[in-house]
């Protein structure tokens, strides 16, 4: 079984401050990890992924995430948040065991609010 936990329902930061959205995962094989962002009444937009390689992954809109195998975490970060980053963020995991089953398991989401 695979699962994702996003321990914070909401994150509030001031514009210009660093933003961190936490994610921990559980998977039996090698983790493939993803971050998506969702704006109101819209579908999910891909931000970044970790499959293999460097633990620090850079993605869209200045976001990055750090894979930590020992802590089973994949926290999303942005050095300087913008008001336009206010949205709902989802972490997702799938087992990279080599099968053709690309089933993703999503966390419950974290609402980010960036105040001007």
């Amino acid at each position: 079984a695979q699962s994702v936990a996003q321990p914070e329902d909401q994150v509030n930061v001031a514009e210009g401050n660093p933003l961190t959205v936490k994610c921990t995962y559980s998977v039996s094989g090698n983790p493939y990890l993803f971050w998506y962002v969702q704006y109101p009444n819209r579908g999910l937009q891909f931000l970044l992924k970790y499959i293999t390689g460097d633990n620090l992954v850079k993605g869209s809109y200045g976001f990055e995430a750090e894979f930590n195998k020992s802590q089973t975490s994949f926290h999303l970060k942005k050095p300087s948040a913008l008001v336009s980053d206010s949205a709902l963020y989802f972490c997702a995991v799938r087992d990279g065991g080599g099968s053709n089953d690309y089933k993703l398991s999503f966390g419950a989401g974290t609402t980010v609010t960036v105040r001007a």
């Binding site: 994702v4 493939y32 993803f34 579908g43 937009q45 799938r94 089933k103 419950a108 989401g109």
Partner: protein, 116 residues
């Protein structure tokens, strides 16, 4: 840039009625997914297709839900009869089997269903 298309964007129906949602994946994407996202939660996979074949429908309530992808391209998700608890956002996603975006899922804008 190619996108996943879904229609309708919004649907209001009365309980016990039938509803249908349509999805057109990105051209060339062999894998297609239908997710249900209840307000305040992450998306949950309902059904996954590889070309025209169902790979995973373990979470699809088969007494009332059905999905098809007859020619391995576009897909239809049907609910009959609709129940109050079916009110949610229904998301379609697709993914390629190879290339730079391998392992990524591309989401459509979703269909928001309200059952009265």
């Amino acid at each position: 840039e190619a996108e996943v298309a879904q229609s309708p964007r919004y649907k209001i129906t009365e309980k016990s009625q039938a509803v249908a949602f349509w999805c057109d994946p990105i051209s060339g994407h062999a894998t297609l997914y239908w997710y249900r996202q209840i307000l305040g939660q992450g998306p949950e996979l309902l059904v996954q297709f590889q070309d025209e074949s169902v790979v995973d429908d373990s979470q699809l309530p088969k007494d009332r839900f059905s999905a098809e992808r007859l020619k391995g391209v576009d897909s239809t998700l049907k609910i009959q009869p609709a129940e109050l608890g079916d009110s949610a956002m229904y998301l379609c996603a697709s993914s390629p089997n190879r290339g730079r975006s391998y392992n990524e899922q591309f989401f459509g804008p979703g269909t928001r269903l309200t059952v009265l």
